[in-house]
């Protein structure tokens, strides 16, 4: 019963997640840019623009220039997310790739600190949001919700890693079953169930939330347009 | 918006400029000068009259430089300058003098 329920929920959340994002991508891709609006100084060729977008997406270049405190929090959070997601790859492939094993060994060696690495930036961003009056003013419930959701996911993850352990083999078998369409029973560890439920919520919420910034950043016309208006005529698709 | 003067009603825009230019009279000018806290002296009248003449021909107020030159011709070089103009019309000759002269407010990046 539990297994069936979760197997369906999981597929449901994944479908919403994937289709939701793809719909957004499609919409962003086909909505026209009537005019050139690149923010200058901007690169004058395609390679430069690609570099600009990559720097913004990977090192948060623009944010670094505008606010070091938020940059620090943002970087820490995203790096932690990256590490955590990467270390979860071991539940999705068999055998586990060598690179992930190396990461895993490293994470094992720093022990409980991995928890701090993940939870601290969330706490920092939360406190900052409440503390700075102008940021508190513009914050909406969704901003707090997403931080709390991530915090709870992190907390349940750490609990599983160090305190109330599930049967990892069962966990992996369950996940492998999901992604190879041959469902396996859901592990019954309550913390795992919590952790998994929260992740499904996150997945289903993703395309409708501000998390879509992860996709949107690649489509931002002020950043991804080449500064060549004089050299190459830009045609407005709805006004030919 | 509007104001009453000698039993007649005059229509103005939000900033107090006359809507119908033909409504203008010396009495109206004196009244408008009062709202701007400007006391009309012969020098003030020279400017107002010049503005109206220029407007009659060109459908716009003259640029400040032309105005200054006109004043130089009329009052001599020591008074033909921007500072003297601002002395007469502290909020800016382009807008304040135009208002008293019953001309529309200049628009654009001015």
């Amino acid at each position: 019963m539990l297994s069936t329920c979760y197997t369906f929920s999981a597929y449901f959340a994944i479908v919403i997640f994937v289709l939701g994002i793809l719909c957004k991508v499609w919409k962003y891709a086909i909505t026209p840019n009537p005019l050139k609006i690149s923010l200058t100084p901007a690169p004058t060729n395609a390679a430069g623009v690609i570099l600009r977008v990559i720097l913004d997406a990977s090192l948060f270049n623009s944010l670094f220039k505008s606010n070091k405190f938020i940059w620090l929090g943002g970087c820490a959070l995203h790096l932690a997310l990256l590490i955590v997601v990467a270390s979860h790859i071991r539940f999705f492939v068999s055998p586990v790739p060598e690179l992930i094993m190396l990461l895993q060994t490293f994470l094992q060696s720093i022990g409980i600190f991995i928890g701090a690495i993940f939870l601290a930036p969330i706490g920092y961003l939360f406190i900052r949001r409440v503390w700075v009056d102008r940021i508190r003013f513009v914050s909406i419930f969704a901003d707090y919700f997403i931080l709390i959701l991530l915090f709870c996911i992190g907390l349940s993850g750490i609990t599983m890693k160090y305190f109330i352990r599930p049967d990892l083999v069962a966990v992996k078998t369950f996940i492998m079953g999901l992604i190879s369409f041959s469902p396996e029973p859901m592990p019954t560890n309550p913390i795992f169930i919590t952790h998994f439920t929260l992740i499904l919520i996150l997945l289903a919420y993703f395309p409708f939330s501000k998390l879509i910034h992860s996709v949107g950043i690649f489509f931002s016309p002020t950043r991804n347009q080449i500064d060549n208006s004089r050299e190459k005529r830009h045609v407005n698709p709805w006004d030919r | 918006m509007a104001f009453e003067l000698d039993g007649k009603s005059y229509e103005t825009d939000e900033d107090g400029y006359l809507v119908n230019l033909e409504d203008w009279s010396e009495g109206v000018a004196n009244y408008l000068a009062g709202t701007e806290e400007v006391e009309m002296t012969p020098a003030h009248w020279e400017i107002v009259n010049f503005l109206r003449e220029y407007y009659d021909e060109y459908k716009i107020a003259p640029m400040i430089k032309i105005l200054i030159k006109e004043m130089k011709n009329k009052f001599g070089p020591e008074k033909g300058n921007n500072a003297y103009l601002y002395e007469l019309y502290p909020s800016g000759p382009a807008k304040q003098a135009c208002k008293i002269a019953g001309l529309p407010k200049p628009t654009g990046c001015v």
Binding site: T40, P41, V138, F208 | Y58, M63
Partner: protein
């Protein structure tokens, strides 16, 4: 009308981030556009009965037409990086004048009518009904954005509030709500050809006066053989110069016009102004209307064809250069008849710089020895255009010209110039008397930066290349205790220094 005293911020030379004061910017409001103006522009003459429905429909249309709008409404994470960047927030302390605060006004409506979360959860998802109260806030705050893009620079995703306030303004127009200042001016361009509403005859009178003035000035120095012309409507000239109409009328704008004329004279290139295309500015951008912008711009393409010129050059005007540089080719191009050897269009600074580099014009720096000069990067030129071939040429070329014209040049603090420059506080339809208080407060950050170099280096001349900036600063400077004639154009310096 007795005028209430407006409190002018004290100058300390420091730009401090204020504690928020919600509603502090609601001190003044634009006059609303008249019925007849709106009708003439093709909008409803007053707020339509079913305005809410109509506004949502218009918003749907824009969401499908503008990637920027669609994307920027979705991706903001309210990180707060932009919140201390807008001069109108720094000046007024109103949190709805922060870029994100301003965007949220539209985003709330977007969530309510266009997103599943907003439709289902309402306020919990940050959605809000489009109420009359909200519309009032729209009218106030979206007309307090000068489209300067300082927020877009700060945003990790490049969200540009200008795009969002343009959309909001267009939506408001579509339901019969516009500002008198901008709409009146657009109509003047449609009907007469320029923002001031100057008939060709009046322009001619101004130009003739300028030519005489220059001649007299040289004669006073005992030079009689110099006869700088300002040609208008000359068919077959090499260059068509398009300037903001304020250059025909206002001070100090007109001084730059003399500068352009002298540069062309000395370069020995035939040039002309056009009485038809007598306006470089394009307030269509300020109402967000693509069609309006296109109609204003179409006069340029027409003049280029009619006068059979080979090159197109733009005078000192900020948003005009943005539109010329980025939009003209789309709106009124292609300019197939122009000489492809030269940039289309070219900024007058690029032209002058080129002449200086080639040695075609010579400058006597000592002519400006009385000045310690600083340069204000006008926001639209700085963050939406380029001069020359290299990114950032828009910062270097004007400075290079200034340095060629005078001996003493100082830059204001780095975080307030170049791509980080502050708007003058009068852009995008704010340059009107009823908005004076906001203009004063919006200018505050720039005034603080200026104060620093006035105190430390004795700066006494403040040059820039934008008609709006010139008008705004000549009005605002005296209020902050700086002399009005401290403001001038780059070509004003050129005009004084050029050796004919």
């Amino acid at each position: 009308m007795a005028k209430e005293k407006i409190e002018v911020p004290k100058l300390t030379g420091k730009i401090e981030i204020p504690r928020i004061k919600p509603g502090a910017a609601l001190v003044c409001e634009h006059h609303k556009a008249k019925e007849q103006m709106l009708t003439e522009l093709g909008y409803p003459s007053a707020l339509v009965e079913n305005w809410q429905e109509k506004a949502i429909a218009k918003m749907r249309e824009l969401l499908n037409k503008y990637k920027s709008l669609k994307l920027y409404l979705d991706v903001c994470v309210r990180c707060g990086a932009c919140t201390d960047k807008c001069q109108f927030f720094l000046g007024t302390a109103d949190p709805k004048n922060t870029p994100v605060g301003r965007q949220e006004l539209l985003r709330k409506i977007y969530r309510r009518y266009f997103t599943p979360a907003g439709k289902l959860l309402g306020g919990l998802a940050g959605a809000e009904d489009f109420t009359e109260e909200m519309l009032k806030e729209w009218y106030a705050y979206f007309h307090q954005c000068s489209q300067c893009r300082r927020c877009s620079l700060a945003c990790p995703y490049g969200i540009d509030t200008a795009e969002i306030s343009m959309a909001a303004r267009e939506i408001m127009h579509s339901i019969g709500l516009g500002t008198k200042y901008t709409d009146e001016i657009i109509l003047k361009v449609f009907n007469v050809g320029n923002n001031l509403g100057m008939q060709p005859k009046a322009i001619k009178s101004s130009l003739d006066f300028c030519v005489d003035e220059m001649k007299e000035a040289y004669e006073e120095k005992g030079i009689t053989n110099i006869d700088v012309k300002i040609p208008m409507d000359v068919e077959g000239a090499d260059i068509l110069l398009v300037v903001p109409s304020a250059d025909f009328f206002a001070s100090p704008h007109i001084e730059s016009l003399l500068g352009y004329a002298k540069v062309f004279h000395q370069a020995g290139i035939s040039w002309t102004l056009s009485s038809y295309a007598s306006e470089a500015g394009n307030f269509g951008m300020f109402t967000g209307s693509y069609d309006g912008m296109k109609k204003v711009a179409s006069r340029i393409g027409q003049a280029v064809r009619d006068l059979k010129v080979k090159r197109l050059v733009i005078g000192e005007c900020g948003h005009a250069y943005r539109i010329a540089y980025n939009f003209w080719n789309t709106l009124t191009g292609p300019f197939d008849t122009l000489d492809p050897k030269y940039p289309v269009p070219q900024h007058i600074c690029e032209f002058t710089y080129d002449m200086i580099k080639r040695g075609a014009i010579r400058l006597d720096k000592s002519a400006n020895d009385e000045f310690v000069v600083t340069y204000h990067d006008s926001c639209n030129v700085a963050r939406a255009t380029r001069m020359g071939d290299m990114p950032g040429g828009q910062f270097e070329i004007p400075r290079a010209i200034i340095k060629a014209c005078c001996n003493k040049f100082v830059d204001m603090p780095q975080e307030t110039i170049r791509e980080n420059t502050f708007c003058c506080g009068g852009g995008a339809g704010l340059l009107t008397d009823e908005m004076l208080e906001i203009r004063i407060k919006g200018a505050m950050p720039r005034m603080q930066a200026l104060k620093q170099v006035v105190d430390s280096h004795g700066v006494n001349f403040y040059v820039l290349i934008c008609a709006i900036c010139k008008a705004q600063f000549t009005k605002i400077f005296p209020m902050y205790g700086f002399p009005m004639d401290m403001v001038g154009g780059v070509h004003q310096l050129v005009s004084r220094a050029i050796i004919l």
